[in-house]
Subunit: 127 residues, 2 copies
């Protein structure tokens, strides 16, 4: 069930269906310790798509054990300008994100995400 | 069962019981795409403890769904010299690692790890 929930959540992100985000994200959700709430969480995602117009979330691996969802996400995209403090400037880069979600009352309450910044550094440095 | 396996693996690392590592790691194990094998995997860990004498693996979160183990590890330690290309020079730092393990025939066959380098950068820059 967490697996279906997560696939539907990722589909919601990829469709940028922000009016549906509240089905998946709790009103008082936290992201890497920041008390974003649903509104702040939504703003973060809208900003991500602004900086990365070709952003697409792809699930590489998924391990679900209530109340946790752990996902390895793969990205292949072209951020404009700076991304994570690195001057990517529209170059196409590939990187992964390993992320844990804590589910509470059927929605994402807490997110603990790590993006592979070292992989992006290596790609930006090699050009 | 994966949960017990993983706790025993982490205990093996913290005891630096390298003669027991083969109970947990496959002979042809890969780490972030590198075909290390058990010997290379062991060398990596021995080197980690050389660079970080007070290294200790602490499980913060754990999601097990066969054949995957997903762990969020927390570190609070003092790497000597450079660590991930950052001049830590013995300062005490805290960071996390989100890591997936693929289990095959009862042992770790593949590891996909991401360390929160940005968090370390922020701590090194702030001093």
């Amino acid at each position: 069930m967490l697996r279906e929930f997560y696939h539907a959540y990722i589909d919601c992100l990829n469709r940028q269906a922000w009016d549906e985000l509240g089905r998946f994200v709790a009103d008082d959700a936290r992201h890497n310790g920041r008390p974003f709430g649903l509104a702040g969480y939504c703003s973060m995602l809208i900003k991500d798509f602004e900086v990365i117009p070709d952003l697409r979330f792809v699930i590489d691996r998924l391990a679900c054990e209530p109340p946790l969802i752990a996902a390895r996400l793969m990205f292949n995209c072209s951020p404009k300008g700076s991304f994570l403090g690195l001057k990517v400037d529209g170059r196409r880069i590939s990187f992964t994100e390993n992320v844990f979600y804590e589910i509470k009352d059927g929605r994402i309450a807490d997110v603990f995400s790590v993006i592979d910044k070292a992989a992006i550094e290596a790609q930006v440095a090699s050009e």
